[in-house]
């Protein structure tokens, strides 16, 4: 399979270069027609914040992976990029790399499932621009299958890998029936917002936001269908909440031991989870001394994140196994796309129809008429099948455009539901 792949990703290049080479949809709209005209018969461009990858079948057998890189750099010139910032793949290695990406084991955060959607979208984008056909579809369908199997059959995507999600994971180990719990999120910045969204996703319905800038609190409250309380008075409401997450940029403690002492007194000792995901910290860590007060800060939550990342990395061999299985299936299918078995299957298909129809009239006509019909139908079938057969043989005898031949074979097989003997 003469498929090429090039990749600039988090393993090979710093973020500045990755950002500089990122192609948005408008750029891809321009890039694809151009590269199709000059270099690749078909292909797919995957471009995310962490990687830009191009996979494709070259028009000319003399094309090298480096030509694709040069073409990309000509399209989007950037400075300081060097050869080692790219990875180059051909045939098996290109497929393996694509499957690694789709399976989430080549991601910056191992097990990131977002990339699977991005790979699928990239293929559909190419297909809509008529830059991808049957064989490439099969390859990307298999990549998608790898990603799904990795999620379903392994734990590559399990466990919190962000501090805000880890905070919610700890909440779940302390409290149950989250739909009946109340939560206060102090700070409506990016971290606070993520924490609020995670809480809502876990079923906490009563979420209250408090933020120095009221408009930000209102915006977040609207987003998660929550409520707000003024930042100046949130101390007076602490006892109303089972979960308190603080993520502000305050230089001093917003919640002191005195606040928590008073809070627990009013809560009559009911458990309270306090997550301090701010730097510098918002909550005095001494509050952890109180019974039924579960205080955690960035350091402790980072332990969970690191454990989960390690657990995900331990799952890589299982995903590798899935990749090898799917590669074997893909190449078995690809190798079965031989033209001779397909021509035979194609002709057998029509011959079967001819025999079937002749059988239906065998007892309704005389022997003489039957012979004429038999002869006529053979000639008719011969004429119908002549051009497709010749065309396929011509393609098969040609020295280039193997991909075009494969695509014809796939189309033919799909149209007539053909199966070669070796399938």
């Amino acid at each position: 399979m003469n498929i090429f792949g090039i990749s600039i990703n988090h393993n090979t290049a710093p973020i500045e270069l990755r950002e500089a080479l990122h192609l948005n949809n408008e750029e891809i709209d321009q890039f694809i027609p151009s590269i199709r005209r000059d270099l690749l018969g078909e292909g797919v461009v995957i471009s995310t914040c962490n990687r830009t990858e191009i996979f494709g079948f070259p028009r000319d057998l003399r094309t090298r992976a480096e030509d694709i890189r040069d073409y990309l750099l000509k399209f989007k010139p950037i400075e300081n990029v060097e050869n080692h910032h790219f990875e180059y793949f051909f045939s098996c290695s290109a497929i393996k790399h694509l499957f690694n990406v789709a399976g989430g084991i080549d991601s910056l955060i191992v097990g990131d499932s977002q990339i699977l959607g991005q790979v699928k979208d990239a293929f559909e984008y190419s297909e809509n621009l008529n830059f991808a056909s049957s064989v490439l579809r099969r390859i990307f369908d298999t990549a998608s299958k790898v990603g799904k199997r990795a999620i379903k059959e392994t734990r590559i995507g399990e466990g919190a890998i962000s501090v805000s999600y880890a905070a919610v994971q700890v909440v779940e180990k302390i409290l149950a029936y989250l739909d009946k719990k109340t939560a206060l999120v102090i700070g409506a910045g990016e971290t606070g917002e993520l924490a609020a969204i995670h809480l809502r996703d876990k079923g906490v319905t009563n979420i209250v936001i408090s933020n120095r800038t009221l408009s930000k609190a209102e915006a977040l409250a609207k987003k998660i269908d929550g409520e707000i309380i003024p930042f100046e008075t949130f101390h007076h409401h602490l006892h109303e909440f089972d979960i308190i997450i603080s993520a502000t940029s305050s230089e001093n403690f917003l919640i002191t031991t005195e606040h928590v002492k008073e809070m627990q007194k009013r809560r009559k000792g009911m458990p309270t989870v306090m997550m301090d995901i701010a730097i510098p910290r918002d909550i005095d860590p001494a509050v952890r001394k109180f019974d039924n007060v579960f205080y955690h800060d960035m350091d402790s939550l980072q332990i969970i994140v690191e454990q989960n990342l390690k657990a995900r990395k331990d799952e890589i061999p299982k995903v590798d196994k899935i990749i090898i299985e799917e590669m074997a299936n893909l190449f078995s299918w690809y190798n079965a796309l031989g033209v001779v078995p397909t021509i035979k299957a194609f002709r057998d298909f029509f011959e079967e129809i001819r025999q079937d129809e002749l059988g239906k009239i065998r007892n309704k006509v005389s022997d003489e008429d039957y012979m004429k019909l038999e002869d006529m139908s053979r000639r008719l079938m011969g004429r119908i099948l002549h051009n497709p057969t010749i065309k396929l043989r011509e393609l098969a005898n040609g020295k280039s455009d193997e991909q075009v031949l494969k695509n014809h074979v796939v189309v033919l097989k799909e149209l007539f539901s053909l199966k070669s003997e070796d399938e």
């Binding site: 409290l175 149950a176 000792g269």
Partner: protein, 274 residues
Amino acid sequence: MLQTIHTLNVILPFLYLVAFSVYLYDFMKEKRVLTNSKRIFLFITLIIHVLYLVFRTIEFNHPPITSKFEIYSVLAFALVFSYFILELLTDIRWTGYYIIIFSLIFQAISSIYIVDNYEVKEILRSRLLGIHVISAILGYAGLTISAVHGLLFLKLYKDIKLNKFGLLFKRLPSLEILEKLSFYSAVIGFVLLTIAIKIGVIWLPSAFPDYSYLDPKLLATATIWLVYGTGIIFKIYAKWYGKKFIIFSLTGFSLALISLLITKIFESSFHTFY
């Protein structure tokens, strides 16, 4: 039938050993394939254990409560049966091996020392005694399960406080659930113990002329009953949360264990049947 009883007597500890191993292995490794199969295996073990107890009752013409080793077997069954019901109701499958270990120990001791007992004291054939003993055993099974969940609660509580996010953190349900499991098991245990005491108080004076309210076993049981009763009342009316009730429950369980030792010392008690 006797041959079947002997065979089952040998098989049962091994079944509990396998169940314990599977639950332990699943706890350590979390194998999805074991999620349902371990529950099915435990169910089969319970069925076999029921058959064993029924066959003994038929063959020896008395309920299997006439020796401490028969009672150990009933206790082993009661513990796993109670856990199994809890697992079905809550779908929490990770605390099993902490319970099954007790059944394994009790059944193993029972299987080694149990004897075929055709001739027993007439009093041991009493139906009221049967209900008294069975409800007491089930009650203690409930209290044991409460204690196990209480211990798990304390361990997880401490781990979370100390930022230890290990295997227990991953596998155990939330503290709130553990607290509820401990509380409900204690309530069920307490109710059954109340029934056992009630029957005992009604039946014992008529069955034993030397009946005494100062019998060590009676006093110990009454103390345990009082501790649990107080804990449950405070939990419900004084809204105790977290560690407070758990510590009460564990205190009650410790008392139960101590009372076993004390009554062992005072074996001359009228409350000794074998």
